[in-house]
């Protein structure tokens, strides 16, 4: 009788038996039935091994539930673990049932301030969630109930730091970083203990006084307020035990005359040891940036054979319009190629870095620059499909006149402003990871900002600027399916599996939409 009763319980309450729990070791696996971290897995590829939904049946997808958060556009990548979906916007988080979209809990906090511009999502460790707030708290919630466990301050709100990033968990490290918009601060990455919230280490985005790299700043004042915020969750190679992330622009943003030099480690791809916070290597993508072209975009990890040798590589499609491939063990530069037209660089230097045309720095009467401050891409998650060997990126096209408004020797904050004079069509572009060559480009109209998902089902999911969600053939870019959700997709699609059914989860505006195939 007992056994029979247990069976009934299993059938009726399958979720309640699978407690909300995530072993950090699950994060090391390739992306499959769960979506346990910002990029799905540590590689940043956003390539799912699920293939129930595939190129032959994608036309049959049907909507199975929606959830309206009634709030701002969802820019967060939702997580899905043990039957619950977790997502967030600034100051708010939700858990909804992955099968039905039914609300399980909602958490909300009263803000002390801070820039409310976006939120990339939550992280999970054991039975706890972690998220940051615009007013610079790192908050831990109980995943099953949304009950707040503790909160700690990670930055000084009064200095205009604010927080948007999704934390990344590596073993017992919670990696988080505050953002900087205008006030001249120094960027940093922190590691916190997931149990106690105690700071384990802090890495600053500009060197300490007298340390290597400090010579790329004219003085200590400029160096110690030099920006380089870390906006986007990074990626991780467990074998090399290196965490990879990009840093944003130096401060002041557009007026560079008070910070002459290359301004390390702003606008760089950085590799560091997550146990110690010690930097292993860096590669600067835009020396002395004056256009706000953060190097924050996801560094995607993949393997490829180059000259007969299997290499561990890292690729980033950068806001400055260039695609970079590096050896991720050493930081050695492999290739740089332009994936969008620009008029600010005069070519590449010996290390593959674009050479800036100083005439295209912001000028008092204006300099016409392609692209605008928005860049050729931005935070939109890219994807890499190991079967096609292609890197997929959301490309945006624009031109702006950049004005230098502060011509003093010591400009502050922005010191300049750009005015957009042309917005061209966005697209989803496929770039060969080994050669940097553009293989196809699928135009998506002005204004599309969605990221990308690829799957073992030979599908690529993304969105256009008209509220359409798209499924494309990852080899050719041909459209296979679309649905108009009539709102902008601000994040990337995700996929997961429960009860042996694969779900496609899209966010448009403040709503979630879940699709599956018809029941067999």
């Amino acid at each position: 009788v007992r056994g029979f009763f247990r069976l009934i319980v299993v059938v009726l309450f399958p979720v309640s038996l699978a407690a909300q729990n995530l072993d950090p070791r699950d994060l090391v696996r390739s992306l499959g039935s769960i979506w346990p971290t910002y990029n799905g897995d540590y590689s940043g590829r956003r390539f799912s091994q699920l293939s129930q939904i595939n190129a032959s049946n994608v036309q049959n997808l049907r909507l199975v539930w929606t959830y309206d958060s009634g709030t701002l556009p969802i820019k967060a990548t939702p997580l899905m673990v043990d039957g619950l979906i977790y997502f967030s916007v600034p100051d708010k988080a939700w858990a909804v049932d992955a099968r039905s979209g039914r609300l399980i809990w909602h958490w909300e906090t009263k803000t002390r301030g801070g820039t409310h511009i976006g939120h990339r999502g939550v992280a999970m460790y054991g039975k706890w969630l972690f998220l940051v707030t615009p007013d610079d708290y790192l908050v831990s919630l109980e995943a099953a109930t949304g009950k707040e466990r503790w909160r700690i301050e990670i930055a000084d709100l009064k200095l205009d730091y604010f927080s948007t990033v999704a934390p990344v968990i590596i073993r017992n490290h919670v990696l988080v970083s505050p953002s900087i918009e205008s006030t001249d601060n120094r960027g940093y990455l922190d590691s916190y203990d997931p149990e106690t919230g105690k700071l384990q280490w802090r890495w600053y985005s500009t060197p300490d006084a007298g340390a290597p790299g400090a010579e790329t700043w004219p003085n200590d004042e400029a160096r110690s307020h030099g920006g380089g915020a870390i906006w986007i969750p990074g990626t991780y190679d467990p074998e090399l035990n290196l965490y990879y992330f990009g840093t944003a622009n130096p401060q002041p943003v557009m007026a560079g005359q008070g910070r002459l030099g290359n301004n390390l480690w702003a606008n760089s791809i950085v590799a560091l040891n997550p146990d110690t916070g010690k930097m292993a290597w860096y590669y600067q993508t835009t020396p002395h940036d004056t256009h706000d072209w953060d190097s924050a975009e996801t560094p995607v990890l993949f393997e490829a054979e180059l000259d007969g040798e299997k290499r561990k590589l890292l690729a980033q499609a950068n806001r400055n319009g260039y695609f970079f491939v590096l050896d991720r063990a050493t930081g050695e530069h492999i290739l740089t190629s332009a994936f969008a037209v620009n008029n600010w660089a005069k070519g590449l230097d010996a290390k593959g870095r674009p050479i800036r045309d100083v005439a295209k720095d912001p000028q008092p009467a204006g300099a016409l620059v392609i692209p605008s401050e928005d860049g050729a891409t931005n935070w939109f998650p890219p994807s890499f499909d190991p079967e096609t060997g292609l890197f997929y990126v959301r490309v945006t096209r624009s031109a702006a006149v950049f004005y230098l408004t502060d011509t003093s020797d010591k400009p502050e904050a922005w010191g300049g402003i750009d005015k957009t004079v042309w917005r061209g069509p966005s697209s989803i572009e496929a770039i060969d990871g080994k050669t940097g060559k553009i293989v196809w480009d699928h135009t998506t109209g002005v204004g599309a900002v969605s990221g990308i998902l690829t799957t073992e089902g030979r599908l690529l999911f993304g969105g256009d600027g008209s509220g359409n969600a798209l499924a494309l053939d990852p080899s050719t870019g041909r459209t296979l399916w679309h649905v108009n959700l009539n709102d902008a997709m601000f994040n990337a699609p995700v996929t997961y599996e429960v009860d042996n059914r694969q779900y496609l989860l899209l966010a448009a505006g403040g709503k979630l939409f879940a699709f599956t195939l018809p029941e067999p």
Binding site: T115, E221, W379, A399, G416, I417, S466, D487
Partner: protein, 301 residues
């Protein structure tokens, strides 16, 4: 992102002229469309553009600006009383500028007050006032005995200065008419005269001051494209383009009727945008051309 605001934006679109051809890429998948007419659609973004990292730009309209500002920056330091801040600046320049720099960005002996932790933590003078009154004698800053009203004026100046530095849409763009008006006239007459003349632009400099004139001539904005949709039957519909994406096209015809069509591989869509000339220039203009033309247009008062 409420419906009405978004719908407003839906009527906005930009054509891809030859600048677009230069700037964008190949192999585009839009069935049935002529290669020359790949065109944009309205961005589905909120009136406050926040679709990239922490970069906020705000609409010109004042009421919307205030709403937008507070939705993005709740608890933002408010504007100070302008008279107090102006008096504060004079007091600052007379008493403090020598050490802290004329714009409070630091000098030879005094630190930058915009980056100062103390100034940033101050709300209403409670931290700044003791420093003014007591000085920092060990660091070489003397005591200042100023009446309360002057201390509060100084506090107002520092907070306003900080706010203005932070909010870049308050930045003033300096003179943009720095080019050669004669060279600008020649450029204008050889590139713009197909559609424009100095007569039809008479008074434009008075209408749009400074940088707004430069912005306007580079990107006049507005709806400007006429579309012709040809169905497989040969039936043609002409109108003002309302929307175009990979799957549908829509327009308002001459009678003001809304018409929309599915984009099948057999349907043809041709677009003529009267702003093509402007879009084309973006990919061609040198900065000298731009400054010269702006300087020439500045003479059309």
């Amino acid at each position: 992102l409420k419906g009405t605001k978004r719908e407003g934006l839906l009527f906005e679109y930009r054509a891809r002229g030859e600048a677009g051809n230069v700037l964008s890429s190949r192999a585009v998948f839009i069935p049935g469309m002529l290669a020359i007419v790949i065109l944009s659609v309205a961005p589905l973004t909120a009136q406050v553009k926040d679709d990239h990292n922490g970069r906020v730009s705000l609409p010109a309209n004042k009421a919307r600006e205030d709403d937008s500002l507070h939705s993005i920056y709740p608890k933002l330091t408010p504007n100070q009383n302008p008279a107090a801040a102006a008096r504060g600046r004079q007091l600052y320049e007379a008493n403090c500028g020598f050490c802290h720099g004329k714009d409070a960005t630091g000098g030879n002996s005094g630190p930058d007050l915009l980056r100062s932790v103390l100034v940033n933590h101050d709300e209403k003078g409670e931290l700044i006032e003791p420093v003014i009154r007591e000085g920092r004698v060990d660091k070489g800053m003397p005591k200042f005995s100023l009446p309360n009203s002057q201390v509060s004026d100084l506090v107002a100046f520092l907070h306003q200065r900080n706010r203005d530095a932070r909010l870049r849409f308050t930045y003033k763009i300096p003179d943009v008419a720095t080019g050669d008006a004669a060279a600008g006239k020649i450029y204008f007459e050889s590139h713009c005269n197909i559609c424009h003349s100095s007569q039809d632009l008479a008074g434009i400099a008075a209408k749009y001051p400074g940088d707004e004139l430069q912005q306007r001539w580079l990107d006049p904005g507005g709806r400007s494209a006429e579309v012709t949709v040809t169905l497989p039957s040969g039936q043609k519909t002409v109108g003002t383009l309302q929307h175009l994406d990979e799957f549908n096209v829509s327009l308002y015809d001459a009678e003001g009727n809304y018409r929309s069509f599915a984009l099948t591989p057999e349907a043809k869509v041709e677009i003529q945008d009267r702003l093509d000339g402007h879009h084309k220039l973006i990919g061609q203009l040198s900065d000298k051309n731009m400054h010269d033309v702006t300087t020439y247009l500045e003479t059309l008062k």
